[in-house]
């Protein structure tokens, strides 16, 4: 099987984190980005430069995405896959006419 280089954003918890682990276990190289610096560091400790790298970048802004792209392109000569696992709730599940956002 081809070894892939995969960039995962939203990878320091939940589905993103589990996906990063499974990809690394399957022999792929994972570049993981999460918003939380402590969790990103903890995840980075579980990886070696061959299996992958982690960084704390907030990709909720266009500048964050630029930073993420720059970080990844400096650490890999190619990217095969982007997995976007970032996102989550901002307001209540019911709209309530409160201007809640997701």
């Amino acid at each position: 099987m081809t070894r892939l280089t995969v960039l995962i954003v939203g990878a320091t918890s939940g589905v993103g984190k589990a996906t990063a682990r499974q990809l690394a276990d399957a022999g792929h190289r994972v570049l993981v980005i999460g918003r939380d610096p402590e969790r990103a560091q903890a995840l980075g400790h579980q990886l070696t430069p061959t299996t992958g790298l982690a960084a704390a970048i907030d990709i909720s802004t266009p500048e964050g995405w630029d930073l993420a792209a720059e970080w990844a392109s400096q650490r890999a000569d190619r990217l095969d896959v982007l997995i976007n696992a970032a996102g989550g709730p901002i307001g209540s599940i019911l709209c309530l006419g409160l201007g809640c956002r997701w």
């Binding site: 099987m1 589905v15 996906t19 997995i83 309530l96 006419g97 409160l98 809640c100």
Partner: protein, 140 residues
């Protein structure tokens, strides 16, 4: 429910358009649709809901009183699935030579996906049932 529904519809629609745009580079775009999954999302949503409610106009909150109680009750009964099967589906999509455009993960996701093909009236009734809103009367 309106904001999350709109955001998920936007995600599906954005992905469908992006797939067309990126076809020239032979870059596939895949949407993974998990059902309720055991992540921090529910705790975060709960905390955010509390903040939103605390800052809301009490009259608006009162209008929604029965809805909020019913949704909380229905949510407590739902059992979100583990994350690993979802990650497995993503791994499968990543490694596929020709990935499908959409993958569902979890039986509830498959069920809800099937709902969208039902007639509108029936679908609305089933969705209201799932969220405990079937017999909700607004407060007088």
């Amino acid at each position: 429910m309106a904001p999350i529904s709109a955001s998920k519809a936007a995600l599906a629609s954005l992905s469908d358009a992006l797939r067309v745009e990126l076809a020239a580079w032979k870059i596939p775009v895949v949407v993974i649709e998990p059902g309720g999954t055991q992540t921090n999302i529910f705790a975060k949503a709960d905390a955010n809901a509390r903040i939103a409610l605390a800052g809301a106009d009490p009259r608006q909150v009162a209008l929604y009183e029965h809805h909020l109680a019913a949704v909380a009750k229905a949510a407590a009964k739902q059992k979100p699935g583990p994350v690993d099967p979802v990650a497995q589906v993503i791994l499968k999509a990543v490694q596929a030579r020709r990935p499908k455009r959409r993958y569902t993960a979890g039986s509830d996701a498959r069920l809800l996906g099937a709902l969208s093909h039902l007639p509108d009236r029936l679908r609305d009734r089933l969705v209201r049932g799932v969220f405990g809103l079937a017999n909700i009367q607004p407060r007088a």
